[in-house]
């Protein structure tokens, strides 16, 4: 038996109190009371307890998560015949919002649209889409949309609203009060007929068309010149020389998607060695200007004079009468341009983006001298877009102010936001118009003032038709049942006009009556209708007569020559109306009254455009193609001006100075962003920002530039002189995705000139040789000969892309296309400032610099000084765009550093990224020479901090169910749209055939309006990519490190004259 030792007498005696204390020497109870009671100010939660709690909760959470959740599945009660769950359906439709037009196909999964793609069958947009059209699918799932009609700002029912509106309209009609329908351009013939029906019911009603960004000067000028109040169709693909005066035709001017496609036809160097020459005269560096072969910086006040000079030079060549002009500083450029144009007479095109009738009349005269009509301009088959009439609108405003308008119905337009005198208009509207009805999909700036808001369907929920150009029709069909209790605006109008008819039947009736008889292919209307619906488009000009033109090229040439001749004679006879003298005087008068400090140019961004889709986070986060700034608009100013006149903060950690802009009574505060290429003495400001009532994403982002729109000579002007700026002490932070602007002498984008290229197709793409020393032997070798790695075998496919830098215009459609396809989250301005944007594809934009290594040496500058100067772009730089996504290297640096093999190589040439294997070391991103890997710093879905589309159930409906939503802490990057590749392969296997070239398209390649990206299988001998990859212009990005990517780039070729190169 063991001895027992006592700790003291107390224990020996068995003192109760002592024993209790002794047992409690180390009290281990959890001090719940202390933690949860709020007795003291400072919560007494010691670190150890905190750890205990944490450990406990961690353990319970882990245990709880072990149990698999019970998942329910709800099958269709009666499955629609065409839907197989898990298989996508595609519907042809049409995007037309009064600003853009695109024929599209909509991808739907289980009845919800998730992706928009271009319709290749359209002869107008030819399969192209732009960023806004791509992003429009997200606007469908915008939680800011109205869920039903509003009466007096309160939710109401259709029955009630209809009753009240009808009553009021009838009362107004009875006293012969004026009813006005104000809309943006309506290209739908059926809608126009609906409005006609409405006006016939209410004879005091009148339809007024007004575009936020107007082109009415072109219409008026054509009326004056040719007696035809139209916007002609332009044929950039037929032009060898393109001269643009401030027309941003690749980004915003009239029909940019159509023009971009036409433009690159003559820029691509596949199978030919000629390309068009493009000269741009402009003030702000636009997307189009960035792509020009030669860009001349011009102040807005000089544009007209430049045109006069050009006309006079050409008139001298042609022996026509000249007009009065004024000398300009860049007369040499004008002379060169005139010569070039004259040389390419009949194959030249001059366009002008100034909404000024005088300038447009001169442009018409120039084009007539150049024989453009019938060759590069088709005025017989005009374009139907942008029919806004500024004079009508001005008249309407007068009427409203005078209290002469009793009812105003606004459709697809937001005048309170887009009109320059918005405040005045607003008060007049509130006080003097007794009935205000809006068809807006949300309670926007105008709809908020309306008595009744009758929300229209989103275009993906509705039937519609469109006629973008004369003879070209397209149909829009619903791809989803209406999400909310909305109603087509056309149906509302019909209802109020007393016509009880479904708009779908109405369109059918219209097509039956007006279009069915313009063709001879179909004998039954039903087949005509279903085929048109399936194709999405119908060209009534495809009559036998038009088809005959498909003959031999010579024949065609002769024919067009004859036609041109005929045309010029014809228009010659109508010549009487061109009053060039008056136009010239008008231009000279207008240019002389600019005497202020600054001239302001308003422009549209590739993302937001005129701001109608502002509440779309994808578009807000799309970097501006030129400045690369997201989530903002700002004053663009030449760096020289920033340094010289105002000593503004030019560039430092994305911070900029805020200045005030004043023009007349209008003053706004806006930050300044340095923009190389901006004409000194001018500033630019983007339209479409500064919305106040469009939704949580866009409210109060940027400033509204519409108040600066000027009214002059019956048109709205988007330039203004006499703008003064003032300094403020405020600073503003920019979220730019690119903060280095030059290539620093490295050939990331390989460039050459057309003349060099003709001499040697490998020009600019010379092989770089490296010194290789083995023992005492030393030789020069190509990078791929100095290889450490084994090759990966590709037994079936080898996927890849070839990107033609000559065709890429930098528009950003691919970025949005990729975002929609691959569930790429929106991260917000704050995160973009930390360079944490998640886009899988980015478009790098580089400016040329005046400094280079040789020049630095010649001038005796130190290497540091040279490098520093190489960082700053030229004052009028050449610009290059380069889309960069994962290069899918065969010898990938990322793969070798991943400690958990979360990124590996596939036998089809893809670099695979496995999210669930990734532990987030970010070694791969650090080792990637292309910096294309993106890290999920946060969970971007279901997270209040990132309150964009992935945080609400409605917005999440846009997600692609075949692509996983990544969670926090994992790396992601371009997968080469592996889900599409797998789908294409599976379809081939199911059909017992090989994969056909073109069956599989990545989202970016599909989106590209200029087909700059060719995707395919290098192993397929018959593939387009196999052919293109043999081209001498192909090179690998950073080829010297020999990562052997599956992505090739093709050298950019500029058509600049030899003496400059």
């Amino acid at each position: 038996m063991e001895k027992k030792y006592w700790k003291g007498l107390d224990e020996l005696k068995g003192d109760v109190e002592f024993v209790e204390k002794a047992n409690n020497e180390f009290p281990e109870e959890i001090p719940v009371d202390e933690v949860f009671s709020r007795k003291s100010e400072q919560p007494a939660t010691p670190r150890r307890d905190f750890l205990k709690f944490m450990g406990f909760s961690l353990a319970t959470a882990t245990l709880a998560s072990c149990e698999a959740p019970v998942r329910k599945t709800i099958p269709y009660l009666i499955r629609p015949e065409e839907i197989v769950p898990g298989v996508a359906n595609w519907y042809a439709s049409t995007f037309s919002d009064g600003n853009d037009y695109c024929s599209i196909v909509v991808k739907t999964r289980e009845g919800r649209p998730i992706k928009i793609e271009g319709n290749k069958r359209s002869s107008v947009t030819r399969g192209g889409v732009n960023a806004r059209v791509q992003a429009s699918v997200l606007s469908l799932y915008d939680s800011a949309r109205l869920q039903g009609p509003l009466a007096g700002g309160a939710p109401s029912s259709w029955q009630e609203v209809d009753g009240k509106i009808k009553e009021k309209l009838q009362a107004i009609a009875a006293k012969n009060g004026n009813i006005r329908i104000l809309s943006s351009t309506i290209i739908s013939p059926s809608t126009n007929k609906v409005i006609a029906d409405f006006t016939s019911k209410y004879p005091s009603a009148k339809h007024i068309t007004y575009d936020a960004v107007s082109y009415s000067a072109i219409i008026k000028a054509n009326q004056a010149s040719f007696g035809k109040a139209v916007i002609p169709s332009y044929k950039f693909d037929k032009a060898e020389t393109i001269v643009s005066f401030a027309a941003d035709f690749l980004n915003s001017w009239i029909s940019p998607v159509e023009f971009a496609n036409q433009y690159v036809q003559n820029r691509k160097l596949r199978g030919k060695k000629t390309m068009s020459r493009h000269i741009q005269y402009e003030s702000s560096l636009s997307l189009t200007g960035s792509n020009a072969d030669k860009r001349i910086q011009v102040k807005p006040s000089e544009q007209g004079i430049a045109l006069l000079n050009l006309y006079n030079r050409l008139a001298a060549f042609a022996g026509a009468s000249t007009v009065k002009d004024k000398p300009v500083r860049f007369i040499k450029s004008i002379e060169d341009t005139a010569q070039l144009l004259w040389k390419n007479k009949g194959k030249a095109l001059v366009v002008c983006g100034v909404n000024d009738i005088y300038s447009q009349i001169i442009v018409n005269a120039v084009n007539k001298l150049l024989d453009s009509y019938g060759n590069t301009i088709d005025i017989e088959n005009p374009c139907c877009l942008k029919q806004g009439n500024d004079a009508d609108l001005a008249k309407l405003m007068e009427e409203i102010k005078a209290g002469e308008v009793s009812a105003l119905i606004t459709y697809n337009t937001n005048p309170v936001y887009t009109l320059p005198g918005a405040e005045e208009f607003k008060t007049a509207l509130q006080k003097k118009v007794e009935l205000k009805i809006s068809f807006a999909d949300r309670a926007d700036e105008t709809a908020a003032l309306a008595d009744f808001v009758c929300p229209d369907h989103h275009y993906l929920e509705a039937w519609n038709d469109a006629e973008p150009a004369k003879g070209h029709y397209s149909l829009a069909q619903p791809a989803i049942r209406p999400l909310f209790k909305t109603r087509a605006a056309q149906e509302s109008l019909l209802k109020w006009a007393g016509v009880e008819m479904d708009y779908h039947n109405y369109i059918q009736d219209y097509w039956k009556a007006n279009l069915f008889n313009t063709q001879s292919k179909y004998t039954l209307f039903e087949t005509f209708w279903t085929d048109s619906l399936q194709n999405g488009v119908f060209d009534s000009s495809m009559a036998p007569a038009a088809a005959k033109e498909k003959e031999t090229p010579e024949n065609k040439k002769n024919k067009s020559k004859n036609k041109a001749h005929r045309n010029s004679q014809e228009s010659g006879s109508e010549n009487i109306k061109i009053d060039l003298e008056a136009a010239s005087e008008g231009i000279l008068r207008n240019s002389s009254d600019k005497n202020g400090d600054w001239e302001l140019v308003l422009y549209e961004k590739a993302g937001l455009g005129n701001g109608s889709q502002a509440n779309n986070p994808w578009l807000q986060e799309l970097p501006d193609p030129v400045s690369k700034v997201t989530w903002d608009n700002y004053v663009t100013m030449s760096p020289a001006d920033m340094r010289g006149k105002y000593n503004l903060l030019e560039r430092g950690d994305n911070t900029g100075d805020v200045i005030t802009l004043t023009l007349g009574n209008t003053t706004v505060k806006a930050p300044v962003y340095p923009q190389p290429g901006q004409m000194p003495g001018t500033i630019g400001l983007a339209l479409g920002y500064g919305r106040t009532k469009t939704g949580k994403v866009a409210n109060n982002v940027g400033v509204n530039a519409f108040p600066f729109v000027q009214w002059r000579n019956e048109t709205f002007q988007y330039t203004a002189g006499n703008v003064s700026i003032g300094a403020t002490a405020d600073k503003h932070e920019f979220a730019a995705t690119q903060t280095h602007h030059t290539m620093m002498g490295r050939a990331l984008v390989k460039e050459t000139t057309l003349s060099e290229y003709i001499k040697d197709p490998k020009a600019g793409n010379e092989e770089e040789l490296f010194v290789y020393t083995s023992g005492k032997e030393s030789s020069k070798k190509k990078s791929e000969e100095l290889n450490l790695w084994d090759t990966h075998e590709k037994p079936v496919h080898r996927w890849g892309m070839v990107i033609d830098l000559n065709s890429c215009i930098g528009c950003g459609a691919c970025v949005i296309g990729c975002q929609a396809e691959n569930n790429v989250p929106v991260v917000g301005k704050d995160e973009v400032m930390r360079s944490r944007e998640m886009h899988w594809i980015r478009i790098d934009r580089y400016y040329s610099s005046d400094m280079n290594a040789e020049k630095g040496k010649e001038e005796g500058k130190g290497s540091m000084q040279t490098l520093r100067e190489m960082e700053s772009p030229s004052d009028n730089p050449e610009v290059v765009f380069q889309p960069v996504m994962c290069q899918h290297c065969n010898h990938a640096p990322c793969e070798t550093v991943c400690p958990v093999l979360a990124t590996t190589h596939s036998s089809e040439g893809m670099n695979q990224m496995i999210y669930n294997r990734c532990v987030g070391t970010r070694y791969c991103a650090n080792n990637c020479p292309y910096k294309v890997r993106r890290f999920n710093w946060f969970k971007y879905s279901d997270n209040k901090q990132f309150d964009y589309n992935m945080n609400d159930n409605l917005g999440k409906m846009v997600l692609n169910p075949d692509v996983v939503v990544r969670s926090r802490g994992v790396m992601e990057k371009c997968s080469l749209c592996v889900q599409r590749i797998q789908e294409g392969k599976l379809n081939a296997k199911k059909e017992n055939r090989k994969v056909k070239d073109g069956d599989i398209q990545t989202a970016c390649a599909q989106s590209c309006p200029t087909n700059a990206i060719v995707f395919g299988d290098y192993n397929d001998p018959a593939s387009e990519i196999g052919e293109v990859a043999k081209d001498e212009r192909c090179y690998h990005l950073l080829g010297e490190i020999d990562t052997q990517p599956n992505i090739y780039y093709q050298t950019k070729v500029r058509n600049t004259p030899e003496e400059k190169a």
Binding site: C66, A68, V70, R71, K72, T73, I74, P75, Y76, L77, I78, R79, V84, P85, G86, V87, E793, K794, P795, V796, H797, T904, S906, S907, E908, M910, Q912, M913, I914, Y915, N916, R917, D962, V963, V964, V965, S975, V978, Q979, Q982, K985, L986, A988, K989, K990, N992, R993, K994, V995, N1019, D1020
Partner: protein, 416 residues
């Protein structure tokens, strides 16, 4: 040493096991013939279906008449039989001629009679089908080996306790005989301690065994987290795959039509059920109760055969749940690979309630991809395929092209 008592327990136990297997199904002819030929349109005592309820049919008509009717109802009607024409008038649908021999028809009639008697008898659980006494135990034909083991364990524990008592008694007796005083009874804790000190080796072994066991057990337990093999949730409708796919031999693709076209095989929409159940209004096991749920979902009235407006979808519980991170496509496996449904889903045709058969783990997928051969020659898709030595084993000798050899185990085939 065989305890006589133990023998007494084991014998009935053994009998209990043998008996259920000894009981065989009685009256095979009539029942199966009825199910195969008649059940689609007729019930016995469960109301009208397409044709009349056959309960007490012998009471209504003579066997002779029935024989003629079943052989060819049309010719019987033509012969001017009043009852035959009356029946036709009631149901307005002709009963197809049955190619059954008179003896088979008699067997069917016998079955109908016995079923009819059964239905009219007051509801009693233990009505013997074949007469032999099968106890209620046979119904719960579950796994009762666990209970047997438990019983044996209890018996062994009792034996051990008895033996310990006997040993202690004997020790006490020896001590009493030799005059050794009884040792002082220590407190239980100290006794444990003393015992432990004198059995160090045993304890060491026990700890090691316990340690190894618990880590192995723990390992497998953790490896099982998230795996729900054998998952068999209750469903809103007691749908039996055994009946539909097994006995009725309906092809899987008939209902799960997505399997050949889509990534998901799909839970059939209710209109697919209605293809058959518009006619078949009563099932053999649950009667009308479960089929009524289909009708309720569609708001269908079987009597008037009309659909109402108050349809509401059925909410099923998913049995096979792949995580979102894995992409699986049924059509790739079923249509292209020619994999049988049962390979992954097990003998569904024998399952009353659908059950997850395979573990659905990545290892399980990969193992199959490693061993399954691809028939390159059967599909023109593979025309461009060229064997690569690197992928075909070290010296290119490996001539069998498995799914793995064409990249079927690469990450981005399933994870994107």
């Amino acid at each position: 040493m065989t305890h006589p008592k133990l023998r007494g327990v084991l014998l009935p136990l053994a009998l209990l096991f043998i008996l259920p297997f000894a009981v065989s199904a009685a009256d095979p002819d009539g029942a199966s013939l009825f199910k195969a030929n008649c059940a689609a349109c007729h019930s016995v005592g469960k109301g009208k279906l397409v044709g009349p309820d056959l309960k007490d049919i012998q009471k209504r008509q003579s066997e002779d008449w029935l024989l003629k009717w079943i052989k060819s109802s049309a010719s019987l009607r033509k012969s001017g039989d009043a009852y035959a024409n009356e029946i036709f008038g009631q149901y307005n649908i002709e009963m197809p001629d049955q190619s059954l021999s008179p003896s088979e028809i008699k067997a069917v009639l016998g079955y109908i009679k016995s079923e009819g008697d059964k239905a009219s008898a007051p509801a009693s659980v233990s009505t013997p089908v074949g007469g032999e006494g099968a106890s209620a135990e046979t119904d719960s034909s579950g796994d009762n080996s666990f209970y047997v083991l438990l019983l044996i364990a209890v018996i062994l524990l009792v034996v051990a306790a008895v033996l310990t008592r006997v040993r202690n008694g004997l020790q006490k007796a020896i001590r009493a005989k030799n005059g050794i005083p009884e040792p002082a009874l220590l407190p239980a804790r100290q006794r444990m301690y003393v015992w432990a000190r004198s059995n160090k080796k045993l304890i060491a072994v026990a700890i090691i065994v316990l340690g190894v066991w618990s880590s192995v057990k723990g390992w497998y337990m953790l490896a099982d987290v998230g795996i729900s093999q054998g998952y068999q949730p209750d469903q809103p409708i007691a749908f039996s795959h055994k009946l539909h796919a097994g006995e009725m031999k309906i092809s899987c693709i008939y209902c799960h039509s997505g399997a050949e076209k889509s990534k998901t095989a799909g839970v059939p929409s209710v209109n697919v059920c209605m293809n058959c159940h518009k006619a078949i209004r009563q099932g053999p096991t649950t009667g009308t109760a479960e089929i009524a749920k289909i009708y309720a979902a569609l708001d269908y009235d079987p009597n008037t055969m009309t659909y109402g407006p108050n349809s509401k979808p059925l909410v099923w519980t998913r049995v096979h749940n792949l995580p979102d991170l894995a992409y699986f496509n049924h059509s790739q496996h079923v249509k292209v690979g020619g994999v049988k449904c049962q390979t992954c889903h097990g003998p569904v045709e024998e399952m009353t309630v659908a059950k997850q058969f395979a573990p659905l783990t990545m290892g399980w997928c990969i193992n199959c991809h490693r061993t399954t051969q691809v028939k390159l020659e059967n599909n023109h898709y593979y025309d461009n395929y060229h064997p690569v030595p690197e992928l075909m084993g070290k010296h290119g000798r490996d001539t069998v092209v498995t799914v793995e050899k064409i990249g079927g185990t690469e990450c981005a085939r399933c994870h994107y």
